[in-house]
Every structure is written in C-alpha cells, then in structure tokens.
C-alpha cells in the first residue's frame, strides 16, 4: 500500500500552490480558484488520515463532507459578488487585486 506521507506531501504541495495563487494573482476569479485548491488539499489530508489512522471511525470523512458544503457556499457567494461588481461597474474592480497590499 502507498505510504501515508505521499498523500500528505501531495496535499502540502497543493496547499502551498494555492497560497501562491491567492497572493500572486490579480484577478478575483483566479484567487477564488486558488482558494478552492487549498480546500481540496485539506480534503486530501482528511481522507488520507481517515484511511490510515482510523478507518472504522467516521470523523475524517464526515469533516470532508462538511468542507464540500462550505466550499460550495463560498463559491456561490464569491462568484455572486464578482458578477455583481462587474455588472454595476463594467470596468472590473475585481481586477488588479493585490492581496499583499491590502
């Protein structure tokens, strides 16, 4: 069987890439996509821990399901905000975002 830490390293890499995307991208949609990457990395962790540490317990998978729900809620709200800003202004304020400057 594949060692646990392989999965965890993939998750760590994905999370770090997500952080880079959030901090470096200028476009709100791209930042949102990077946040989704980070949440996916969390889910890899959770499911891997569940499988290797305690497959008979439920909390790892349960937590992953709740992360899905939260990710969906965040995406819905975030995309609504982006579209609304775009519609009200045509020129997109969501453009030219620099999270490190905020």
């Amino acid at each position: 069987m594949i060692p646990l830490h392989w999965y965890l390293l993939v998750a760590a890499g994905m999370f770090a890439l997500g952080i880079y995307g959030v901090l470096a991208r200028r476009n709100a949609v791209a930042i949102l996509m990077s946040i989704e990457l980070m949440l996916n990395a969390v889910n890899i962790n959770l499911v891997a821990f569940w499988r290797y540490m305690a497959p008979e317990a439920l909390n790892g998978q349960m937590f992953a399901i709740l992360v899905f729900a939260v990710a969906a809620a965040e995406a819905a709200v975030g995309l609504a905000l982006i579209i609304s800003i775009y519609r009200n202004r045509e020129t997109v304020v969501a453009e030219d975002i620099n999270l490190l400057k905020w």
């Binding site: 709740l66 992360v67 800003i85």
Partner: protein
Amino acid sequence: MQLPILESINLMAVLPVLIIAGWACVLLVFDLLIPRSRKHWTAWLALVGLLGAAVALFFQIGHFARLGSEAAFDGMVTVDGFSIFLQVVFVLTAIVGVLLALDYLPRHGIERGEYYVLLLFTTIGMMIMSMAADLIVVFVALELLSIPLYILSGFAGMRETSEEAALKYFLLGAFASSFLVYGIALTYGGTGTTRLTGIAQAVTSDALNLPLTTVGMGLLLVGLGFKVAAVPFHMWTPDVYQGAPTPVTAFMSVGAKAGGFAALIRVLVTAFPAIASEWGTLIAVIAGLTMLLGNIVAISQSNIKRMLAYSSIAHAGYILLAVAAAQRSENASFAIGAVVFYLLAYALTNLGAFTVAIAVERDDGTGTEIDDFAGLGKTRPWMALAMALFMLSLTGMPISGGLVGKVFVFQAALQAVPGDPLLLAVVIIGVLTSVVSAFYYLKVIMVMYMREGEGKAVLPLALKTVLAATAFGTLVLGIIPGPVFQMAQRAMLK
C-alpha cells in the same frame, strides 16, 4: 407522554440558538408577504425573535448556575457560563444591529428584509461558536458567522466602496478559513480526534505529535487571528469597516470579534494546555504588535469609521494580552473573566460610538469625517456627552467600563507568569499605547466642543434608545464592575 428521543437530545441546551434559527426561517417567508414600503415590520419581527432568545438565555442562566457546565449532543457543544455570557453579548449586539438599521436602511435606500434574516444567521454562527467543543463545529460555525457578514458588508451595493469591501472581506476571509481548516486537519491527523478534550489528552500523552500539533495550532491561530483582526492579519479591517454600511460595521466590529475570541479561548485553553507556554508566548507577541500598530496608525486617521477600525485592531491587542495570560491553569479563570468583561465593555462602548457615527452620517454615505462632528457640543449636547463618554471609555479613563476592563487585563497578565519579562514588556506597551490612544480619542471630543460647525445629526427614537442604553451600561461597568466581573470570572467552569 414524553418522547424519549427529545429527552436525550437535550434541546434545552441549545434552545436560544434554536429559537433564532427557527425564527429566521419563519421571517424569510413572512418577508415575502410584507410589502416593500413596510419593511420595518420585518425588523420588528426580527426583534421579537431575538427577545425570545434573550428570554431563553435568561432561564438558562438560572439552570446552569445550578448545574455548572453541561455537554450536549454527545459532547459536540458545551453549555457553560462562558458560552451563556457570550451568547448574551451576541444577542444584545444583534438587537442593537437591528435597531441601528431600522432608520439607516430606508434613509440610504437599501432597505431589504434579507438584512434582518442574514443578521439572525450570523448571530447563530456566533452563538454556536461560543459553545463549540469540537473542531468540526468550530469550523462550520465560523463559516456561518462569516458568510452572511460578507454579504452584509456589501449591502449598500450601489456604493462602490461597499461592494469592494465585501469582495475584499470575502477573499481574505475565505483564505483565512482555509488556513484554519488545514490546521484542524493536521491536528486531527496528529491526535486522531477533533474533540477538544480528546486533543488535550492526545497532545499530553504523545510527544511524537508535538511538531505536527504545534504547526496545526499555528494555522488555527492564523484563521482566528484574522477574525479578531490581530496583526499581521488585520489588513482587511480599515477598508471593510469603512466600506460596509455603518450598522453592519458596528455589528461586526463587536460580534465577529467576540465570536473569534470565543473560539480562540475554547480551543487554546481546552485543547492545547500541553503547549500552553508556546501559545502564550506567541499570543503575547501578537498582542504587543497589535496594540502598537492599531494605536499608532489610528492617530493619523481623519475618517471616523477608519479611526474606529484601527481602534478595534488596538483593542483586539488588549484582549489578546488577557488570552495570553490564560496560559497557566491557576490563572485561567481570572484571565478568561478579564477577556469576557473586556469584550462586554468594548461591545457597549463601541456600539455606542458607532450609533453616534450613524446619527451624523448623511444619506449619501458621506459625513463620516471626524470634522463633521464639529459643533455637536452645542446642537446635540446629550449626544455629544454620550460620545465623550464612549471616547473616554475607549481610552480607558475613570468611571468607564473601558478603564476597569484594562485594569483587569493588565492584572491578569501580571499574575499569569510572575516575573516573566515578555508579559511585563507587553503590559508596559499596553499602558503606553493607552496613553497614545488619548490623542485620537480626545481629538473627537475636542472637535465636538471646541470647533464651530453645523453640528447636524439625525437622531430617531431607535438610535436614542441604543445611545441611552449603551451609555448607561458603560457607566455601570465603570462604577460598579464587581457583580458583572464575578459573573464573568465564573464563566469558564471546568
């Protein structure tokens, strides 16, 4: 006949939350039937729900004063003095949030029933946050607290700053939540559980887990530090506070902060006593930086909402100092008492200050400069007097709740680890920055009384009520703090 299921569920423990949650759903349907010109009915209905929750809380106080603490739903939530005290703060803040919006929303042409529904939802998130005894609940409650607030800060959609504030708050908030949930995942991996008490056992019994759980805790701190606006995760605060509609700013400056601190204390004190000196040091350093940055940058602000934003960062620093003081278990109940007392004093004072800001603000969203306060001393003597009291309380001057809160915080920090140079240094920073803060708080008083100006303000009955109540509360906490502090100190029952 009693249903056996209902007995074992222990609904009594979460009754206030259930009342608000159910009422929010009912309100959602009612709101459809209420004509557009009568939207204030929704506000009054929301108030009814909040008062219902307040009554339930009142009964819980008596119930749990006898029982101590009680776990419900197989230990997912804990109801104890701490959670009840904070839930009282949240419900009061929500009531103020409704009252402030009552005239503000129609005046600014942004009146919609959903405002009140979303306000109730985020209040539920805060209340569950204060009860959470499992990291899964901490996470979902934090999201329930945050997502309605993102929307509410963008509620004045036609104003460019409002929508920008919402987007900025959302992106940074979601970013911080992913840190939090990654930290939870690592902690779960290291300890095999998400239950706070279970984590505490696993961390002490197994040194192998230490690096992993320490990093996990660090990531948790990032997520919660963002919610309470601690340096270096404060960058969103000024823009969001300024851009959001003022009632929302008032509500979130108190509610979101208190919710964050509730989770911070529960998680650190319950789950990580084994690495208490590590988190104690870390939090003390963050506290010092937060006080310095908040107070120094606040001096140069000319906009009242921005100034209060930096002031709210600074106050997060003082509260964090008390959190750091909770690192030793003998001192924990005093330190936690100081935290919740400070939160209550800060809530009353800050809500009052924002009420005055709302009264001065003009219908187009301008009138939020400190210069707009000129002449209020003559035209609105009572309001100016109340504002002066709030400013003095935020500075920490005598006969105000702010002073007593600060004294308790400093005392807790000095008792925590006697002779610890770091905590002593942070206390000195705290005292010095309080003196510095007098510059910008007293400037508001000076402008009101010494400067000539129109002194225009709109003060309907709802705002008057809030103003009187918050000023009265600030005074009571300042003059007879004893009973409330004793209640606060009994807050965390083991």
